[in-house]
């Protein structure tokens, strides 16, 4: 009696195995691509890669790689920072033959990238976040961009655009990267008019559409007329601001299409320039530094083209500062800078250039920001 069951199970397994053998050759182009001596590159995103934001910026970088001859790109999105990402990377190595992996979320590095870099010394890991420390595996690399430079420029444009002298910044969490952006944006705006303030609202997580919309609305109610954000997908903030007749500056990618009336400019990643250069180095067998950082000068970040509503004065001032940033002669965090509780955080004689390690652990909001870091 139970034989039937046995048979059905066995035949099921059998047909599965036959299917596997038959299809493995026909449907999967990877074996051949590798045989041609090319490079298989894996991209891992923490969210959807068409989010008008963080992940889309990386996906645009991946798209640039797809155009290169001999480079095969595989992508996996919405991979959480758990064993999922560890196994995704290993799967890319074992099943796709990936030799170069881009784990693009900050939280992928420790412990996952570190662990796998030790285990697979012939695979190169290019992590986005700028985390590598001395003593960590040689084949692990981490890069990041000084996007606060572009935020400073956005701040200048916002400072010219605001009538109420009140700006808004919707952010996920009070972490150093975010605080640095808020501060740069505010410093840029206050270089136009020192009476300008920036209201900050933390939503608590990287993707919370209803909270983001609600924060934008409550800012509009408080008379704020330019709003920007640091969340994974700025789409909701930009669209809501457009509906409320506010100006916006974008983040991560270009959101101008979402807000034709209000999109002033924005701070964007420029991964489509950086990633092909990494691949070229890997193919040429060149050593890539463990930490790669840069801003406008190194073309790692860029600004969105100005919207038509941006006035001549704003363009002139922003362009002038941009030229200095591109030349590497402008310092954003230049003392004296006070935090919003009145303490001096950067003394008058101190000038913290972009590479200054102190900026990496920023824990304050500068004078003029309304909000607190905890």
């Amino acid at each position: 009696m139970s034989n039937k069951l046995e048979i059905s199970r066995r035949s099921l397994l059998l047909s599965g195995a036959v299917g596997a053998a038959g299809l493995a050759v026909s449907s999967l182009p990877f074996g051949r691509a590798l045989a041609a001596g090319s490079l298989s590159v894996g991209f891992i995103y923490v969210g959807p890669r068409d989010d008008y934001g963080y992940n889309q910026a990386h996906a645009q970088g991946a798209a640039a790689l797809k155009k290169l001859p001999g480079v095969k790109v595989t992508e996996e999105e919405r991979v959480p920072e758990t064993v999922d990402v560890e196994k995704t990377m290993e799967s890319m190595i074992n099943l796709d033959g990936a030799k170069l992996i881009f784990p693009t979320s900050f939280g992928y590095f420790d412990p996952y990238v570190l662990k796998l870099a030790k285990k697979y010394p012939d695979v190169t890991f290019m992590h986005c976040g700028g985390l590598w420390k001395e003593g960590e595996p040689d084949n692990a690399h981490s890069y990041f961009g000084y996007i606060d430079e572009a935020e400073y420029l956005s701040g200048i444009v916002a400072g010219h655009a605001t009538k109420s002298k009140k700006l808004g910044f919707i952010a996920a969490k009070p972490i150093p990267q975010v605080l640095r952006n808020i501060n740069a944006f505010t410093l840029g705006a206050r270089s136009v008019d020192p009476s300008i303030t920036t209201q900050v609202i933390f939503t608590g997580d990287w993707s919370m559409p209803v909270k983001e919309a609600e924060a934008t609305n409550s800012m509009a109610d408080q008379g704020i007329d330019v709003v920007t954000c640091h969340v994974d997908s700025p789409k909701v903030v930009v669209e809501t601001a457009e509906k409320r007749g506010m100006f916006t500056t974008g983040y991560h990618a270009n959101q101008a299409a979402l807000a034709p009336k209000g999109y002033l400019t924005g701070a964007e990643w420029n991964w489509e320039v950086l990633y092909p250069s990494f691949v070229a180095d890997v193919l040429a067998g060149k050593t890539i530094p463990h930490l790669v950082r840069g801003g406008l000068k190194e073309k790692i970040v860029k600004t969105s083209p100005y919207g038509a509503m941006v006035g001549a004065a704003a363009r002139k001032q922003a362009d002038a500062v941009k030229a200095q940033l591109e030349a590497g002669t402008f310092v954003i965090f230049k003392g004296p800078i006070k935090d919003n509780k009145g303490n001096t955080v950067i003394a008058a004689s101190v000038s913290q250039g972009q590479t200054d390690i102190a900026l990496e652990s920023m824990s304050y909001l500068v004078e003029g920001v309304i909000g607190s870091t905890s």
Binding site: D50, P209, A213, S218, D221, S233
Partner: protein, 308 residues
């Protein structure tokens, strides 16, 4: 420079405006679920229905250019999901809560799968009606820009209350919900009535979902719902199956959701996670206070599994 600011007055205003903006999906889902539960069945799958409604409504609005057509299709998709739920539940030995959880998963998965190409495009949004013309304050004006769906929901609540008490349909629904045997004795088929009630609940949830994607926040992505559908099911229980209470509960929940951002915008910046959790704490508290192990919850349908 301060003429545009209303300072601390912004908090109650933001909570009021937030209550109206955020409550609509809760209102629609809870009103629909109220009808379903009155028939003696609980549909936890409305979370999946809501997300499917949001996705399909957005997709149709994008393809046809008509947001109202999107709302309609979202409702129809909701009916399909409701009927699927009712259909499986009408099989013997099937637990309605389990089916609900299954459909929550299926609806979410399908919506994410099919909605992938809809994350980028912008669909036309539902219009709002301006009730704030009398005020000079731009904040008041914007708070009183109210979507027609919200008004429909507000009107539906008393209509439902009246219909439940005074119409033949309402009577049949209540009889089926209180005792299948009695209903059968009177010649009504409990399964058919529950099918209709669950399909209706699905319709309302689908429409509620389309509000999310077509009005507020007004775009489609995978993070759109943070559990609004399933929370609305909880709201029905603490609203004690009374449509007017569904309305108040939804408004309360919407207002509580607006509390976090509103307080931050006037400078209260501590503990925003706890403020974000406020709606859930509130729901749980009211649920605890309004329940009792000794007596049946007033208004609870006798056939409803969650109250037995």
């Amino acid at each position: 420079m301060d003429e545009t600011s209303i300072g601390w007055w912004g908090v109650p205003l933001a909570i009021f405006a937030g209550a109206i903006r955020i409550s609509t999906p809760f209102l629609f889902v809870s009103l629909g679920e109220m009808v379903t539960e009155k028939s003696g069945r609980i549909n936890l799958g409305l979370e999946g229905t809501l997300i499917m409604g949001a996705m399909s409504g957005y997709g149709i609005a994008y393809l046809t250019g008509s947001p109202w057509l999107g709302v309609l299709v979202a409702g129809l998709v909701g009916i399909a999901f409701g009927m699927l739920h009712a259909g499986i539940c009408s099989l013997p030995k099937v637990n309605d809560i389990a089916v609900g959880i299954a459909l929550m998963l299926l609806g979410t998965g399908l919506a994410f799968y099919l909605g992938k190409p809809l994350v980028q495009p912008q669909a036309p949004n539902l219009p709002s009606i301006n009730f704030g013309w009398w005020s000079d304050l731009q904040q008041v004006q914007s708070a009183l820009k109210i979507n027609a769906l919200f008004i429909i929901g507000v009107v539906l609540a008393p209509v439902f209350l009246w219909a439940l008490r005074n119409t033949r349909w309402g009577l049949i629904l209540r009889i089926v919900g209180d005792s299948s045997d009695a209903a059968r004795a009177m010649g009504y088929s409990p399964l058919a009535v529950r099918l209709a009630a669950t399909a209706f609940g699905g319709f309302m949830a689908g429409v509620g979902g389309s509000f999310l994607s077509l009005y507020y926040p007004g775009s489609w992505n995978e993070g759109l719902s943070s559990g609004q559908g399933i929370t609305a099911v909880a709201l029905v229980i603490f609203a004690r199956w009374n449509p007017m209470n569904c309305l108040w509960a939804s408004l309360l929940f919407g207002g509580a959701s607006a509390l976090g951002p509103a307080l931050q915008s006037v400078g209260v910046t501590q503990g925003y996670y706890l403020f974000n959790a406020a709606p859930y704490v509130l729901t749980l508290l009211i649920l605890v206070l309004s329940s009792s192990s000794h007596r049946h919850i007033a208004g609870a349908p006798g056939e409803l599994s969650v109250t037995r």
